[in-house]
Amino acid sequence: MRSVGWRERLPARPWLNRFIKHEALTGYTLISPGLFFMLLLLAYPFLLAVSISLSDRVLGEPGKFIWIGNFTKLLQDTFFLQTVRNSFIYTISTVSLKLLLGLILAVLLNHEFPYRNLVRGALLLPWIVPTSLSVLTWLWMFDSLFSIINYVLLGLGLISKKIPWLGNPFWAMVSVIIVNTWRGVPFFAVSILAGLMTIPRELYEASEVDGARGFRKFWHITLPLLQPVIAVVVLFSTIWTFADFQIVYILTHGGPLNATQIFATMAYDVALVAGRIGEGSAISLFLFPALLVVIILMLRYLRRD
């Protein structure tokens, strides 16, 4: 039909055609620009990170090779050990909260109701809007004097005195967990919803014939079928939360008393504020084992499919 048109538009260029016919050559040509970027700005910096972390480099001085000195020093540093603990508390609690709420929200959104698309769009906002800006709003909502959350809770009689949101170690951790959960639930909900929509209705109908109801249906049919989606989402979220920076940096800056310091914020403080680049780089690299575990689990999961 339209083939004549192509022939007319494409004059014979034998040398070009011969080149393009080689599938492998075309393939390499097409991936090379992307590959170049990744080698130059991911692989090389990674090697650089390792080499910097093995030195006692400080800002403005090259430093000397100290083997694993930074790592052994960090593992004896109570501040750093607290950072490790905080990172685990932060990651485990937010990922479980996000999963629980995301699952509930996905199930709710899977119903038919008026303005469904609008509601779905509105619920995605926390995940779309620049995190640093929405977290500033939370900072204002947690303000020690003007906190609107305290104002509302006091007004409703739910609390009798102000909650010191960012003021004490316990509540500061609660605050960063709330904000991270707020930001992350939409991602969980939408991904799980996508998984939910692929479950054929007949499965439920069959189980209803067998007498299964409400929660049992969810437990025995929905959840097992959602397992692959859930695994992928949880793995993604785990690595991103573990390496999170903005929420803590803006809300608490790791404080009070180091109570919310996590890997990335501590690495930033040590390397760029205090200028101990070698040590900061070592802190950053502690994220690598976590990344490795996630990658291995993810690959195992994807390969099974």
Partner: protein, 282 residues
Amino acid sequence: MRRKHIRKIKRILGLYIPLSAFLFFALFPFYWMLISSFKANPELYNLQAKRLLVKEPTLEQFKELFDKTAILRWLWNSFFVSFLTSLISLALGIMAGYALARLKFPGAQTFGLATFITYLVPTTLLFIPLASVVRSFGLSNTLWSLVVTYPTFLIPFCTWMLIAYFKSIPKDMEECAMIDGCNRIGAMVRIVLPMAIPGIVFSGMFSFTLSWNEFVYALTFISDTTHKTMSVAVPTELIRGDAYFWGELMAASLLGSVPVALLYSFFMDYFVSGLTAGALKG
């Protein structure tokens, strides 16, 4: 009659109430951002006022922002960087994505795997060495430091998304075109790309959003006021020492959030379909 009643109550308790709770939790911060930016300082800091409403709406905070800060410059910087990086990443992502979805060559699988893995690498893992790489290129304190580094997380994202899209397009069409004398690249440009437009729009849009929202690199590489992007300028430039000007901060946050929210509401359908496709392919 009675059963219908019970069904309705069940629906309210089981669907509408929990859904409203989620909506409230998700949207309240935006409501608070919005009304805070339209209040003048006396009303904003008056604890006796009805704080959840605006009594006298005013544009004072915005005026202050435009008169005294480089907000227009920051918005432009964000736009410039996001637009350019999404374009670069989309172009390279289309090339790599097509190669990996369609062509057989040694190393293709390894490269696909590497793409996926780099997509998982968090920016906070490499920001320290990247700062010195950027410095050695002489790009510190310029927008180019971001234009160069953002594709490191955008290219893997675009590539990965587009592989899935390209694979969903039947091969017969381009094979026909190639039999008719079109070469590989011609078939890709004329047949596959037009059919992959939803995926391309989604990837481009999402790349734009990711760049617009990026924080760690922008914070690390740029310290000059005039070269900052919105996401970093607002929390660093508008908080002077210990003084928080909340009205201005909220007005600026609103201005920084609206472009992405708008972009995303225009392309909502592409967005949801792209997101769900991506999540499933994951």
